[in-house]
């Protein structure tokens, strides 16, 4: 696979193959050696004992059930916060993008300012503002279903991600051929109808991979609330488990595996959709290859924590 992709070397001849083989053996030995050192260190410190692993992997263990119930609630809460934040930020992001595309210069400047400010702030600060600062200045969300912390977290994540979505949507609309808009206007649709019936649906199709990649960022960012307040998402649950059982390495290993499994699956889904779209729109794929531009999917690594 990468033999074809990389530009750095040709298909290998006999001599290069021999060198690669030697390199393979040496690299494998070095990596195995490193893995062994890590293993020995873990073993010496007694990290492989059933005492540490039992609650997580042995169904016969007395706390096994409660540990996994905690983790289960954690996963559900993480997914819930991420899903709500995601939906809100897509809706608001689309509105911002449409406003930015259809307003005149005077209206656009404050929007750009808004986008720059929210994009420039750490998510953890925004989540803090959502969870702690908003109630202090009188925005009480305790009576909403889910409660203060949930909505604070969701709002923090939403504010950060909606401006990223606004940029993604804008790029998606801008990537459409100009004729689409001109044709729609020529058939008598209004500007708003053109946007809603012709441009946005097409833009969303190309943006789907980018949306899924951003979902990964949102999922990871839900864990930031651990530092700020009690909302029992996956990481907080892991933290309280390890505090009670005294097995941080094992617990965080399991927690990390769960995050990786979810996010890896999402990432593959994004890749799959991107590839399928690529096949559907040959022309688009070719331009992307020739210009070396990543389609919207790869462009802004929103790069949250």
């Amino acid at each position: 696979m990468s033999q074809q992709q990389t530009v750095l070397y040709d298909a290998q001849g006999p001599r290069a193959r021999r060198r690669t083989l030697i390199g393979t053996v040496v690299a494998a030995l070095v990596l195995l050696g490193l893995a062994y050192l890590v293993y020995r260190r873990l073993d010496e410190q007694g990290q492989f004992t059933m005492e540490k692993w039992g609650p997580l992997i042995d169904p016969g263990n007395e706390v096994f059930d409660s540990v996994w119930r905690l983790i289960g609630t954690g996963v559900v809460n993480t997914l819930k916060a991420a899903a709500v934040a995601m939906v809100l930020s897509i809706v608001l992001g689309t509105l911002i993008a449409v406003a930015r595309l259809s307003l005149g210069r005077a209206g656009r400047i404050p929007l750009i300012g808004l986008i720059e400010i929210f994009r420039g702030l750490p998510v953890v600060v925004l989540v803090f503002i959502g969870v702690r600062v908003l109630p202090d200045i009188g925005l009480d969300m305790r009576n909403l279903p889910g409660g203060q912390v949930f909505w604070g977290l969701v709002l923090g994540l939403t504010v950060y991600n909606m401006v990223i979505f606004a940029e993604i949507v804008r790029a998606g609309v801008a990537s459409l051929p100009r004729g689409q808009r001109e044709a729609a206007l020529a058939t008598g649709l209004t500007t708003w109808q053109t946007m809603r019936i012709v441009l946005l649906p097409q833009a969303f199709r190309t943006m789907l991979p980018a949306i899924i990649s951003q979902l990964i960022v949102v999922l990871k960012d839900t864990s930031l609330v651990t530092f700020i307040a009690n909302y029992d998402e996956l990481l907080s649950q892991g933290e309280s488990i390890q505090r009670n059982l005294g097995n941080p390495i094992q617990t965080f290993f399991v927690v990390a595996l769960i995050y990786i499994a979810i996010n890896y699956a999402l990432g593959r889904l994004a890749q799959y959709i991107e590839r399928r779209q690529g096949r559907a729109g040959r022309a688009a794929e070719e331009t992307a290859e020739n210009t070396g531009l990543v389609p919207v999917g790869g462009a802004p690594v929103g790069g949250g924590a």
Binding site: V7, R119, I260, T291, V294, V301, G302
Partner: protein, 217 residues
Amino acid sequence: MSPVFDNIDLFVDGFLTSLEIILYALAGSVPLGVLIAACRVSPIPPLRAFGTFWVTTFRNTPLTVVLFFCAFGLPELGINRSFFFFGVLGLVLYTSAFVCEAVRSGINSVPAGQAEAARSLGLNFTQGLRFVVIPQALRTVVPPLGSVLIAMMKNSAVAGAFGVGGDLWSTGQRLTSALGYATFPIFVGGVAVGYLIITLTAGALLQVLERKVAIAR
């Protein structure tokens, strides 16, 4: 606003500590990321597998989990350092995966014909890399690498939240929780503004750099 100006020296200290974290993380994550990217494009399968493993792991794990691992896991193994060290370490490991992907996509964006042409001119592997591939790859790398690094600057707040102490985030925390200041002026007027100064400046620098290296391909 006055709670911010009353404590302006604390904020300045916090700002400088945040910059310090960022500089260390920059110095660590960029070389590490380039090294991992080199593994991922190398012709040697175990190195490629290692690079893929590294990127998959760190890209899909929240930075918070990486930090928890560093700060709670490593002491279990007998590695005891300050929270500052663990914070920077977590940030470096996490960011290196993103740096790697930015660099790799840059290298892959150079059309194969460029390297082939270099070889047919008689340049050897290093010369081809040095004079043909890398100069072109660098230009494509600048925008994504820039946004990865700006994200890292924002993530330094997470390392701060972790208990690094003394950075912008922790300053805000201390003023509001221990010293009882209202959260709104401290976080919106102080902490947020501090991070905006960092990220907006970095963003502006990045734009200048992008314009400098921009090419029409």
